[in-house]
Amino acid sequence: MSQPRPPNGPSGAGTNPSVVLPKETSSSHNTTLRYPSNGKTIYHRHLSRSKTAELSQASFAYLFSEMVTYAQRRVTGIQDLEKRLNTQGHPLGLKLLDLLLIREPPRSQSRPLNIITLLHFIKINLWQHLFGRQADRLEKSSDPNALDEYMIIDNEPLVNAYVSVPKEMSQLNCAAFVAGIIEGVCDGAVFPAKVTAHSVGSKEEGEMWPGRTVFLVKFQDEVLEREALIGKG
């Protein structure tokens, strides 16, 4: 996972990263917003700064574990739980789309304009940024009744690296969180879609990859309609 690191001094290791409230805000109104003492927030930083930054997988695993536990509170069922995980990921996708595009070289900075480029962007750029590798496969549904469905396949999703789903919840796949991120990217690029995560590890060639997950991307009708129009012109 490469994610922005916590704010540090501009000149690196030597500076004090302590965080204090500026005088004017603490006296005028009670805000809980905190600013670094040098006044430089995360928004002052160059966008490419944390491009290659990496995060410990163990700390992410603990955080994700708590996120799942949190989502599990007061849920009515497995679908509800997946919905909550999806909702947690959605805003990340919206923001990542902008961030990853702006980090591209100027020539390829435009947002994806058709389904294939969008899916390639997800498979390559998004996966590379989040998990340090590309997704394993990209497929189009062969079912003639489901031409709006595409599949992104990951043999061992990083978020599920340490997750064992209990038998009574076997329908659940915690990669619903990643599905939410994908959905955010699709929505942000104005390709509204529903994305769901499905475990396929126990089927045919699943022996080798017990955690294999398929992200099913189902675009809305208007996306395909537009796609067909563009194709004609």
Binding site: A61, S65, V163, S164, P166, C174
Partner: protein, 157 residues
């Protein structure tokens, strides 16, 4: 050279995991017997941990604070190895009081290393699993799978 079985005991003395890797190494016990074994071992371990170190007369709190640093004495490890003619029981206690008991052949080498690896797997696949509740029996597919393949590798060596 064989690893026979693994038992994990929680800090209250309850059995939370129990797996036999090799048939014929140990007699099969009933689940109830395993629970009794876990509880008994827990008690004996607690007593052995109290036997030593003996408090040094005259060493009190003042001398510790005058040294300038707060030093906490190392926790006594208690019973570590129990050996019989036919098997060897190695016990490892984590800082949080979980006990790992590994039953092996008497000639088994590098048990420390095996134990460490088992502990690592426990921290990875049990502690980082969102569906595991602390102190409760371990039922994690991933832990089971990785553990079995690791021990099989050792036993086939």
């Amino acid at each position: 050279m064989t690893v026979f079985a693994l038992i994990i005991i929680n800090k209250a003395g309850g059995l939370i995991y129990n797996r036999t890797f090799y048939e014929g190494g140990l007699n099969n016990l009933t689940t109830n017997d395993y629970l009794v074994l876990a509880g008994t071992f827990h008690g004996v371990h607690a007593i052995t941990a109290r036997l030593n170190p003996v408090p040094i007369p005259g060493a009190n709190r003042n001398s510790a604070s005058s040294a300038g640093t707060m030093t906490r004495p190392e926790t006594p490890s208690g019973l570590e190895v129990l050996e019989s003619e036919n098997f060897r029981l190695q016990c490892f206690t984590t800082l949080t009081g979980i006990k790992f008991l590994l039953f092996t052949d008497t000639t088994q080498t590098n048990v420390d290393l095996t134990m460490r690896r088992v502990y690592e797997m426990y921290t990875d696949y049990v502690m980082k699993n969102p569906f595991y509740q602390l102190e409760m029996p371990v039922r994690c597919d991933m832990f089971e799978r990785k553990l079995l393949s690791y021990i099989r590798e050792i036993n086939n060596r």
